[in-house]
Symmetry: C2
Subunit: 199 residues, 2 copies
């Protein structure tokens, strides 16, 4: 079985529910982006952590920059708080996967772990209408139309992915397996990922 499964997903596609289902059935730890952020914040804002994980930094100069802001995390100088969080979260992900087999949702984990042979990268998507129906059912109505909320999130995730990876979010070639969750439904997606994770 692959030791690590990353799940990237369109908002409203059920990707998170699917990832959670996979983790539960396989008895693997589960990290979504909030959990990674928590790990990163807990560990990442200490000098020791940065020191210890410096070698994992995207580039020495990039990381030196980050290091120089320790102790002054609110004044980021040349690097935005957003970029800084990326570095810390990236290191958190690299630490998490050393610790235990796990399913990781979002945070460009597919890109961060792309050279690992023990990692299966999955992308979950669904057509606009199916996602709109899902987010209204799960999160209720809001001022904005669901279609607008979805387009907003899609755009933000695509920009985020491009910014940090240089790649195109949702391009099938970034992933081992891409599934349309409307075609297959949540349950079958879980089964297909578990099957795909077998070596």
């Amino acid at each position: 079985m692959k030791r690590i499964i990353t799940v990237s997903r369109q908002f409203g596609s059920g990707g998170r529910t699917i990832a959670k289902g996979v983790a539960e059935r396989l008895g693997m730890a589960y990290y979504d982006k909030e959990l990674i952020k928590k790990v990163a914040e807990k560990t990442g804002f200490s000098d020791e952590y940065i020191e210890k994980n410096g070698e994992y930094a995207p580039s020495k100069s990039f990381f030196s920059l980050a290091s120089s802001f320790i102790g002054a995390p609110r004044v980021m100088g040349g690097m935005s708080a957003y970029d800084y969080l990326w570095v810390v979260q990236r290191n958190a992900i690299l630490e998490i996967v050393e610790k235990e087999p796990c399913v990781i949702v979002g945070r460009c984990a597919d890109y961060i772990l792309k050279d690992r042979q023990d990692c299966l990268n999955v992308f979950i998507h669904a057509p606009m209408e199916a996602r709109a129906e899902r987010i209204v059912r799960l999160y209720g109505e809001s001022e904005k139309k669901p279609e607008e909320r979805l387009k907003d999130k899609d755009t933000k995730r695509a920009i985020n992915y491009k910014h940090f990876t240089g790649g195109t979010w949702g391009d099938s070639r970034n992933y081992d397996l891409c599934l349309n969750s409307e075609t297959f439904g949540i349950e079958r997606c879980i089964e297909m990922i578990i099957e795909a994770a077998k070596l």
Copy 2:
């Protein structure tokens, strides 16, 4: 079982072999782009065919244009021979799928059939190195480096897809299922598609 399976693929990914394997095991007819072209040429250049299938045309005006060239297929006027072939091949695909359950490779069949509920759209890709190794093994060396041949083909297919569908070739959201054939190997890809085609 889905009645129709379309397989789009990167050159050298083994997509055609996979498609053929799926068709054989499921006892479905198999059409690759050469076969579709043959069907289109046989049926498409007759007035009757065009007349009968006029209603399937992408747009009335587009098709009227095509119709006006019948009898003078080498003089395409405002429409290139390439665009004309697209219209005829598109109609051939729509005819083929009415006739029998089948697996169709290439020719933007995923797009042409995207509104059908009985169709599973698959995309097969693989990393450059794996594809380079495969094309040299299958087709031998040529003057151009395999990486260049691959980039060439990738670019041509992407341009072709954009031209005729307006979409992005290889974007996971065009397909129900995308597989990295290097991760899973030919045999497992065949099995995964057959599993996915079950209703």
